[in-house]
């Protein structure tokens, strides 16, 4: 009787430990030499999750760390789907924009997570704690690691300091396609940021008229990638959006000096000159855009008719 009981306990144990079971997956390779041996971002706030609301809790954790003061309760109305009892990844990205930050999905490697944490940026991760008969999706925030112990420190659910081995984490993270995002204060960049992907993320902020947030993000990008055309163009556009037309003009001119054949820049320069009521300069710039042809020609025609309409008034 005792033996059978023990066997059954064993079964229950297997069932329960399924959540944290080590798998046959190889332990992720980590470049220890380039990392600090251990770190814990103790100042990152902890918001224990309410029922099914790990999304708002994890999101509040990273937003506050990036300088955007917000509570999980406020975020429930922005990311929670009552009938699905959870939050979609894409809605997390959208909510980050509403709080004037740049949502950046990092490269899908543990190494990248560790480098961001080492740089002081907590990383929001999606995990799938697969029980095979019951997929459990979960958002948590990595706030530290210990290379010697091969483990991560996470703010997770109701645990302020959950410890998870690299291999166990890798298993749950791999089942969620290694999805993770990082948010930084606007004047900083994720250390692992890819130029094109990061600027696309900022451009979306600009597209949603969040110029006050986009401008410092573009400036930070320019500090990292001084030759970036997209970053300077975006900075010019953000200045224009903020009504700072002379500064916008300055950015466009700085871009045109080394890149005189960029028609779209000539076009936007013309727009910034129209806003300053400098009709002749605007006409010259728009004419340049028109002559360069391509996609900018259509924009230039619209700009010229706008110019004629305004100058004729």
């Amino acid at each position: 009787m005792v033996n059978i009981g023990a066997a059954r306990l064993g079964l229950g144990g297997v069932l329960l430990s399924g959540i944290v079971a080590c798998s046959s997956l190889p332990v992720p390779r980590v470049d220890d030499a380039s990392l600090t041996p251990q770190i814990e971002l103790t100042s990152v706030a902890f918001f224990p999750q309410e029922d099914h609301q790990c999304g708002p809790a994890a999101l509040a954790t990273v937003l506050n760390a990036a300088g955007a003061a917000v509570t999980p309760e406020e975020l429930v109305a922005q990311v929670y789907l009552p009938a699905r009892q959870g939050s979609l990844q894409l809605e997390l990205l959208a909510a980050i924009r509403r709080h004037a930050r740049v949502p950046y999905v990092i490269e899908p490697q543990l190494d990248t997570v560790l480098h961001e944490v080492a740089a002081g940026h907590p990383v929001l991760v999606l995990q799938n704690l697969d029980l095979s008969w019951l997929p459990v999706w979960h958002y948590a925030v990595v706030v530290g690691f210990d290379l010697a112990q091969r483990e991560l420190i996470l703010r997770s659910g109701r645990e302020p300091r959950a410890l998870l081995g690299f291999a166990e984490f890798e298993r749950s993270w791999a089942l969620a396609q290694h999805w993770a995002l990082v948010i930084t204060p606007l004047e900083q960049l994720p250390v692992t940021a890819d130029e094109t992907r990061y600027l696309s993320a900022v451009a979306e902020l600009e597209a949603q008229q969040q110029f006050a947030a986009a401008a410092p993000a573009y400036m930070a990008a320019l500090a990292r990638w001084p030759g970036s055309v997209a970053a300077r163009f975006g900075l010019g556009n953000s200045r224009y959006g903020l009504g700072q037309f002379t500064q916008a003009e300055q950015e466009y001119r700085e871009l045109l000096a080394p890149h005189p054949t960029l028609g779209v820049v000539w076009n936007n320069l013309a727009m910034s000159l129209i806003a300053q009521r400098r009709w002749d300069d605007a006409r010259d710039a728009a004419q340049h855009a028109l002559e360069l042809g391509g996609a900018s020609a259509d924009a230039a025609r619209a700009t010229l008719s706008e110019l004629n309409a305004q100058a004729g008034r």
Binding site: G5, I19, P82, Q89, L90, L93, A94, H138
Partner: protein, 135 residues
């Protein structure tokens, strides 16, 4: 429901697009030359077409969020803050995309309590420390 809506959206989109197409092309076809203004309007038409597609997808996503119980007062701001690509992804398969919300510890606790109760009721015999009266 969503499928039907999608089909309706496509039909409405086609009708709207062809209407735009006709209204732009007709004046140019009647004239001898294609004027600059017609070109301009043709460019605008492409943008309007894309805008129509996006607007319909946004309407789909809005509908889906409402069906999932989002507060009607909040839904527009949520849809507006999505990028065009994100709206497209959600419009394609919002039903299949994961929604994370569970607390893993909570689930473990739930399973533990469930097994404990079934043990106490004598339905299972998982935990040896549960005293089975009917034995």
């Amino acid at each position: 429901m969503i499928m039907l809506r999608k089909r309706l959206s496509t039909i409405v989109g086609c009708v709207l697009a062809s209407f735009l197409f006709a209204s732009v092309i007709l004046p140019a076809a009647q004239a001898q030359m294609v004027g600059t203004d017609a070109l301009l309007r043709a460019q605008q038409m492409q943008q309007e077409r894309a805008a129509v597609a996006t607007a319909l997808e946004r309407a789909d996503v809005r509908e889906a969020l409402l069906n999932y119980g989002v507060d009607p007062a909040q839904v527009q701001a949520r849809v507006d803050s999505l990028s065009t690509d994100e709206v497209h992804a959600l419009a394609q398969n919002i039903e299949q995309l994961p929604t994370a919300g569970d607390d893993p510890l909570g689930i473990l606790l739930f399973i533990f309590v469930l097994l404990l109760i079934t043990d106490i009721l004598g339905l299972t015999h998982v935990f040896p420390f549960v005293n089975h009266k009917h034995r």
